[in-house]
């Protein structure tokens, strides 16, 4: 990176550290922070959509749909989320391959599960056997995002379902008295009002989502945990210009600090959003704001 880095053995102290921290592999570590942020940026809205769908389904007057929604909300209760992560990554992959297999190779006569193997025709493999490396990585990341979205969608559905119940019944009754249909009162009255009730739960969920991102490592994505383990391990002079002992403790210490700062910043921002949203609402929080201003 810097011109003085050409001979790492000649330098020491901070200069050595500045060269060490800008090697190609460390750039991958810094980029993997971006992976985490991209995951959060995609997962949060997708999970919210899943959650909205789940909550709406659970409220449905059509019983089977309501069971489906309630089942989805209940799915994550009682079982560790990490088990779902490990399960969904394989299950989704096999589901996709199975569907493609059914479409692309209709005249395949062998069973798909042969003993301990899952066999689909070559054209149905995901990604294809001859695909370049980046396709494999993107597919892995896509599976991870989908897994996160399904699980956090269930959490979000639980929060939104509660928020929809919390909107005062009188508001809906008034809408009905004005002659609005079920859908109209849902769109015009319920949905705009539910957010202030949902926000505490959703902010909690955002914190939980941030703290779940290191689990990406278990899904086979090369994320910050992967690189911290890789870079921190003992390096001998034989294989690298920057030999060092086992520094994994320091790398994970840095990750710990990263997460602490991230959750702290989120907390402050979300508290501000909450203050903005409660402004003028007929709730305890809104009343407290009004009194403080007067």
């Amino acid at each position: 990176m810097f011109p003085y880095c050409s001979d790492p053995n000649a330098i020491s102290g901070l200069t050595w550290l500045s060269c060490y921290l800008t090697t190609g592999k460390h750039t991958s570590l810094y980029l993997s922070f971006l992976t985490v942020l991209v995951l959060l940026a995609i997962t949060a809205p997708v999970a919210l959509v899943f959650g909205f769908g789940g909550a709406t389904a659970a409220r449905s007057r059509f019983a089977p749909l309501s069971w489906l929604g309630k089942g989805y909300i209940g799915i994550v209760r009682g079982v560790p989320d990490i088990a779902f992560f490990l399960f969904f990554v394989i299950a989704l992959d096999q589901a996709f391959e199975y569907l493609r297999h059914k479409i692309k190779c209709p005249d395949w006569d062998q069973p798909i599960r042969q003993g301990n193997d899952f066999v689909v025709c070559a054209a149905a493999k995901l990604p294809l056997g001859d695909a370049p490396q980046w396709v494999h990585e993107t597919y892995g990341f896509f599976l991870a995002v989908l897994t996160f979205s399904i699980i956090f969608g269930a959490f979000a559905a639980n929060v939104l379902y509660g928020a929809m119940q919390a909107v005062p019944r009188a508001q809906i009754e008034t809408a009905e008295a004005y002659g609005m249909s079920h859908g109209q009162s849902f769109r015009r009255i319920l949905v705009p009002q539910m957010w202030v009730y949902a926000l505490p739960g959703l902010s909690n969920l955002w914190m939980v989502l941030i703290k779940a991102t290191p689990l990406l490592f278990l899904l086979g994505v090369e994320d910050i945990v992967y690189w911290a383990r890789e870079l921190g391990g003992t390096k001998t002079p034989k294989f690298t210009d920057y030999p060092h002992e086992d520094w994994r403790m320091w790398y994970f210490g840095a990750l710990l600090v990263f997460y602490l700062v991230f959750t702290r910043v989120s907390e402050v921002v979300l508290a501000r959003v909450m203050r903005r949203l409660t402004h003028g609402q007929a709730t305890m929080g809104g009343e407290a704001q009004r009194k403080a201003a007067a």
Binding site: V208, K211, A212
Partner: protein, 268 residues
């Protein structure tokens, strides 16, 4: 080989009793149920001990956080912030490598690098921080009148804490604390995926479920088995905590008693 033989061989496999070699091919349903169930021993061990020991530290931390003196308050606030603000997964990794470095300098620390003690310490500190926050919140919502009544009876210091503040705090915190206990048990599934090695393949339930899913490439059998075990564990936690809850609330009229509601919001 009948199912009884399998149970005899593998029921205590996770603690090193019985057959050493794990099944390698021709996996039967019986083997999967037995081995995953055997792994639950570790989940219960970690959860139970962390919960019991964490309860005391959590009470102390909640008291410290409510204290006036910043010398007590600040360290408690920081402790709670560090353990609640970072992922448990990273805490496990950090602690494991920290213990490893310590072991290289002082060999006394070598038990800490194995899961049975090292992971237990992390879980103990983690659950203490989460429970302390719950207890602290409950302490703030103790009705003013209760404390004033204690003052009027001439109680102060230790008797007031033991007879009024602590029982009321527990009563108010209990529903949230039940959730914490459930999610602590769920968190124990992370142990063997986060640095701490499983010696001689003695792991927890998820470790074996993952083993079978890897070998058979069929996630649809081992993970549902694991799910059933965990749902049973969750139900028993709710049952036991419900009994305690009834005892804590026994002086109240029926209608005023707080019901325990399971809320899945406490993943770490």
């Amino acid at each position: 080989m009948s199912c009884w033989d399998t149970i005899a061989d593998y029921a205590l496999r996770s603690v090193g009793v019985g057959e050493r070699l794990l099944p390698r091919s021709d996996f039967t349903l019986c083997q999967q149920v037995t081995l995953i169930g055997s792994g639950m021993i570790w989940n219960i061990y970690f959860g139970l001990l962390a919960l019991l020991s964490g309860f005391f530290l959590a009470t102390a931390l909640a008291m410290a956080k409510a204290a006036h003196s910043p010398l007590l308050r600040k360290p408690a606030e920081w402790f709670i912030f560090v353990f609640r603000g970072s992922p448990l997964f990273i805490q496990f990794f950090f602690a494991y490598f920290l213990f490893l470095s310590l072991k290289n300098v002082y060999p006394v620390f070598s038990p800490l690098t194995s899961a049975w003690l090292g992971a237990l310490v992390v879980l103990f500190l983690n659950t203490s921080a989460y429970s302390a926050e719950i207890f602290h919140g409950a302490m703030l919502s103790i009705p003013k009148g209760d404390v004033e009544a204690a003052d009027a009876y001439g109680m102060s210091g230790w008797p007031r804490f033991r007879r009024i503040i602590w029982p009321t705090m527990l009563r108010l915190a209990w529903p949230a604390y039940t959730n914490e206990a459930i999610f602590l048990f769920h968190a124990t599934a992370l142990v063997f995926f986060s640095g701490f090695p499983a010696t001689q393949q003695m792991g927890d339930a998820l470790y074996y479920a993952n083993y079978f899913a890897d070998k058979t490439f069929n996630p649809f059998v081992p993970y549902p088995i694991l799910a059933v075990y965990f749902i049973l564990l969750t139900l028993s936690v709710i049952g036991i905590f419900g009994i305690v809850n009834r005892r804590l609330n026994r002086h109240l009229p029926q209608a005023a008693r707080a019901r325990i509601r399971l809320r899945p919001m406490l993943v770490r």
